[in-house]
Symmetry: D4
Subunit: 256 residues, 8 copies
């Protein structure tokens, strides 16, 4: 309830169109209505374009279908991450236009309009990091952003990475997805002048401890300008990059 | 140096406009010059305005002085972080204009010109998080950015935080500095639509494990759009925010 | 055996009604008889109303049936927690009145009479925390308490939580069930003036480390008045709240 | 602003005593004013009697003095925990009535009136746990509660503990403070029918890992009815027990 | 090569039956021959009566059969621990007298003669610890020792444990098997005056971390006289107790 | 109070030598007196010869003096472990006969009579393990046992260890004290047929993690017959060995 | 491309011997050509003989086949490690000469010519370490090296190890593969004068923590000359040993 | 006792100069005498040139002096690592020729003759890693090897590292010393074809956990050919490299 609605309500009371009891009822929950569930969420969604997202892992196919259908009525984009093909088949039965991005493990319906011209470079250390990287890439694309995939540029063959310097330098945001020792984030960070979001993956074994090694590695990066999300959280990195791009792509006069 | 410049150079050589020695000089370091130490660093510094920074912790006062003097000759801003007053006194003896930001534990000389109008909101959970928060604030201010300090808005008194929603919403980037359980990052993240950089601090005791508790808490934030830097790394958060702001403040025609 | 019985025994010895050997026999085990198995347990069960409980996880259906039948003979309520449907089917074959609370994974027979009017508010961060929360809710209901379910009020959408302040404030005890980063406990704790029992759940992935993140988060809560039980231990939180309610619901003259 | 005030405001608008603009101004900040800083805190303090508390560890004597003086103006009780004698001397210089509880490491000024007749039994495993236990005891006493100290009743000499069964059984809440392996919590829990708050201490060495051993031990207690606070957090246990006692000591007609 | 063989060799040299070069060859490897594989092992087995043991976990049924048959030819007792029924069926096909101790998960053939009259008391915290406890009990029985089983005497019902004080006090060695928080070891240790071997089990969940909680608890036992073996290592505890009993049961004149 | 005393008491009552009131007084506390503090401890001390021990670390010199004096009145041996020279000087001022074992960091007064002829071999990996080893050796000697010191026989020079095989083999118990990687326990265990108590020490750096490395190493020993005590707990190992020796040195007819 | 070549090129351009287009081509990739993808890899492969290797774990049989076929066209040796029989059958269908080393879990095609006469001794603690050891052995053999297998020489039976001193001493490199407590590395290290690569394995249970115990043990080895690779990383140890052997087997005049 | 002594003994027996009994006595302990302390160590020292080394950390100046003097009598080189200046002054008082390498924290006396022409490249990530790197460099130089220092070539400025490719490629062994995230090891490993020994350092803070981050990073290196030593163990890396160089520098005909 914004200032205008409040003014209308008060004027209605003054002019007798609304009795005090009814006005009171409407106002009683104002402190919460104003920051109430639907409104804020709607505002936020409109402003950020962030679709409602279902974390499908650990849910039954039916639960995914139910959540998907509920959300499909509300917004322009619906996404379910960490979804397997079985969940997709169940969703498709009721939402025939839903698309399955197999490598990204994402079921999606709809997408945002293309945003401004800044793009996100997504680099990975090895091919095993691909599912996490694709989760980030597809999420960004569904949100209307352009993505440059720079896969398999691990530091053990530094020349492969250096060959991509141009694409890295011009990005608005860089996402580095790496398992094993996660050294890629530090090296890339030294090559670019834009914010770098690092995603440690659980790719590895033994003293990798399911992603602890690259997580610690990235948190300790000797290069400033690196921030880290949870292990395997490709979606989180994309959501973060999306928020940066929203600001970057804003026309100056749009800025608050 | 791109293909076109190379072609021009070679044509100049062929047509006698450039003698071989000069061309050789230009090309000699090409493999490395292009990615060479000084140049790249210079390029990067010019583009990003990131000053050379000395991590003073664990260094003697003399070592800080030496590093400080060496860098003072090179760029517009010199900073030493995690510096105590003793180091400052030593620096001031040779660099009388150096300033000491006591709470931030930063010695600085010079500062960048004011950047665009986006600002960074820095929120802390409690007063004990202040040194880390000030490290971030002062770093950003030295880099020419505007900072809004929202200190002591921990989640145990949620109303204090909600009272600052306006200041949080309008920020280009939000930095959340919190120890104990680090819950502030998640709550703030749900209130804003901009990127949020979370800094866990080592404030706490017992099962805090020197900052492990808020670190894990922030990495597991239930709100998308949160990225995390190392424990107590206020400087790192500022450096990251700075890179975001550089992109945000760029005029559209300046963008690559 | 209290002082009076002892006096009687000694008088019987003195007056020859009891020979020394028999008296000796009665006295020999005195230290243990008084704190003997059945007696204490019976007293405790009668006083607390806490049913005997079977932890079904890791037991075969037959083992659950055997334990269930053995306990059914003894008390007014029998419960098996962490039980799957298969175990329930086996129990029902011999205990037809047994009820299965599917979401809570509890098999139960009988229940306690309604206790006093204090109630427990059970809040969860997300829908994935529901099985643990229901384990707490159903346990409390079987013990005769009233429960207010406040599910899916995670801190990323703080308004949903604030909208429930009334229900939280009036509770005698609040149980907060949350995975991910577990920030909900701290925020709720700042809103209420009653004891808060926090239950970290293993909901999450990566640096969640199977519930370690919310566990540490809750132990480090910046708000006083929070105590924590084991990861996923909905039953433990309910048992604790039950003991608080027993004291709260006692009439003053009943108090020792 | 409660319903009555709102009704008055609306009636004033209707009857022309208040113009729409002014009414709008008053209502605009309603959502936050109602949950504004001072008001809520005051309400909470009044209702719970929980004094404002200063965590003195890591603060200079001057910082403790400043905080102490600021709070002394506001409420009936001021406490600084983890305070050394030097901080006390500094406080006493400006607050001559301040008292220093040396073993509890608490500086206090004022205390609450005696509450109802329920008391808290505080048991410790060994003498080294005493500072943490005293922190809990003194905090409770300052808040107006009666405390029964049952110190040095560790499980290696079980008879000492059993000799205190009477005092344990009659308590409204039991706090168990133990380092080393922390087994005391489980044993006591089996002897009482009231809520038990366990405080692991950092007493121990080697594989104790600064309190991790008793912390895990207490979280895994085989006896239901145990909840745990942070390592060495005697104050937190007292705050929790205080909230339980508030409910227990309420007269029935006072209960919401 | 024992003293006698050496003397013969030297005599042969002296009397010219063996030339120096050949004698030198025979002596060169003496240091290792004397401590060669078979001899030492045989000596050790004879002296200790410890059967050769197969750790069946992770081995195929065929691998267990092969190892079992190989060892059956060598000694009076053969044991395979952590063996499932399938492995047993395979063993029985070739070793019809082999016996399967289902709860202990041990396949055995033969047993040692009864040793002296000292016995081992094996106490457990709960029924879930039974497989580990039985592994210890059956191992000891196969080695000729008497075992007193004191199962399900966890500390949450301390009277059950105290009722067994007699049986505990008279034991030569006590083995305590406990999961959850492992407090039983400390309590029992305070009741007996013999060596106590503690076996943490992986029974528990959440912050139990697969046996880490009772392991740390037992290592930090506040009662002297407790030593600890690996998590779930019932066999190791039995082997240790066996070595103690060997010494205890030795007649004085047998002692070295 | 044993059966005989009870019979006497009852006979006295019967025969009028003791009135009922007095008998009642004596019996009233029987349940606890029998397991009461002083008595049981006395019984236990008499049977085991274990002196009362003060853990001096973290205590002031005055606290050590007070505890020492209190215990000196009670038993034949008093010990304070982890004591520095300053504490010793303070003790000597009031207990002139007290002796300081500097390397063992033990202050002692009195000692037990020599026990049977079994001895304990104490082996260390390196010279830095010496303080912990001496704590074990001196404790054993004060308890009347013979000790064989086999220091600096680390596995990196296996011949030094093998040269001590004779002394190891004949011991009743072996204590192995080792830091770094703690491999010594496994190697020694393969050489002896007696129980081996392993003491990890905090000697090392880096990935030693203050004794975690040898602790885990010893718990995972591939040789059966190894049990482990806490890091640096030389006293605990000695206490354990003492209990074994008590059983070993008992004459057969003394055994229960 | 050094200064001289550059000068020649430029002079050729100037004097018309080289047209601008061709010069451009040569220069275009200069920065990267020198460190370009193919070239470096080719150089490296040729110089080291290290085959391209597929890490088959976590890949489908089809993915292994595709990668295998792609690499088969490029080099003399193709290897897939951590491959199961199913993957092998799929590979064999298209690469009939591929061989499966079942215990090593390696699929291989081709092999290197025999290198110099230095050999690698591979020692294991127990039979369960065999798959990791064989991964190392087969890798080395495919690379043209001679391997001496010294299996099952764990430290609990030290004589078995000592009996192999000859074979250990003469090796150019020793690889020690051990799980449980990993003590073997330290003992072997004291017996040899060559570099020792230690491979911790995940063989063990409980406090082994999936290989953490031997990993820490090996990193803390009291014997200098030990370096460690990741848990279960038999291939990594072989790769390291291969690089040592390349240097050792080089003829002096081949050395740079 | 070497072959020659044995031959003499046997000849003496043959020729009657020694009776069988006496010869037997001398031979009896042969197994151990032959592998006795001094001899084997001497053999090993002669063969490897590894000086006896004192780990000075945690030792008093006097203890360092004593050990130093004892060793000075025995071999050509004596070293004390982790020694401070105070220890050096004490050593110099009795060993005037001893030299102190301040940055390396090494006191040394004497040095080995120059070995073959292979050299070791020692690279560091930052200046803070210098003490550990110098410990490695000085150790190698004292052992007669040539060292190439490539300091401050961290991955955040990859060009500095690439500029040193020539020096890295030609090394016989590379040692990489790095703290923070330790990424340098992986990057260097991809540039060279020789064995790489990685030394994690404790340089860093927060989630570095005193060197755990670079330790895990290096163990998980995505590049084969990396082996790791303990945190800050510059000496260990040098010892390992020394053993490699011994083999590399051997003339072919010297090889066993």
């Amino acid at each position: 309830m914004d200032a205008e609605s409040l003014r209308t309500l008060l004027t209605d009371v003054r002019e007798g169109r609304l009795d005090v009891g009814t006005a009171l009822d409407r106002l009683r929950d104002l402190p919460f209505e104003d920051i109430g569930d639907a409104k804020i969420d709607h505002h936020r969604t409109l402003r950020t374009g962030m679709p409602e997202v279902i974390f499908a892992q650990g849910k039954t196919a039916q639960q995914v279908v139910d959540a998907f259908s509920a959300l499909a009525a509300r917004g322009p984009v619906v996404m379910a991450t960490r979804a397997d093909r079985q969940a997709y088949e169940a969703v498709r039965a009721v939402q025939p236009e839903a698309i399955y991005y197999e490598r990204a493990r994402i079921i999606a319906l709809g997408s945002m309009a293309a945003s401004g011209d800044g793009y996100v470079a997504v680099a990975t250390g090895g091919t095993a990091d691909l599912p996490v990287a694709e989760e980030a890439c597809v999420t960004l694309e569904l949100l209307g952003h352009r993505v440059e995939r720079l896969f398999d540029v691990g530091v053990a063959g530094i020349h492969r990475l250096l060959a991509q310097r141009q694409a890295l330098s011009a990005a608005a945001v860089v996402i580095v997805v790496a398992g094993m020792e996660g050294a890629l984030a530090s090296v890339v960070s030294g090559l670019v002048a834009c914010p770098l979001v690092a995603v440690p993956t659980s790719v590895g074994y033994g003293a990798n401890f399911d992603g602890l090694a690259p997580l610690l590695s990235m948190l300790n990066s000797c290069a400033p300008g690196v921030a880290v999300v949870n292990i395997d959280n490709g979606f989180g990195a994309a959501a973060f990059a999306h928020l940066v791009l929203l600001r970057v792509n804003q026309r100056p006069h749009e800025r608050e």
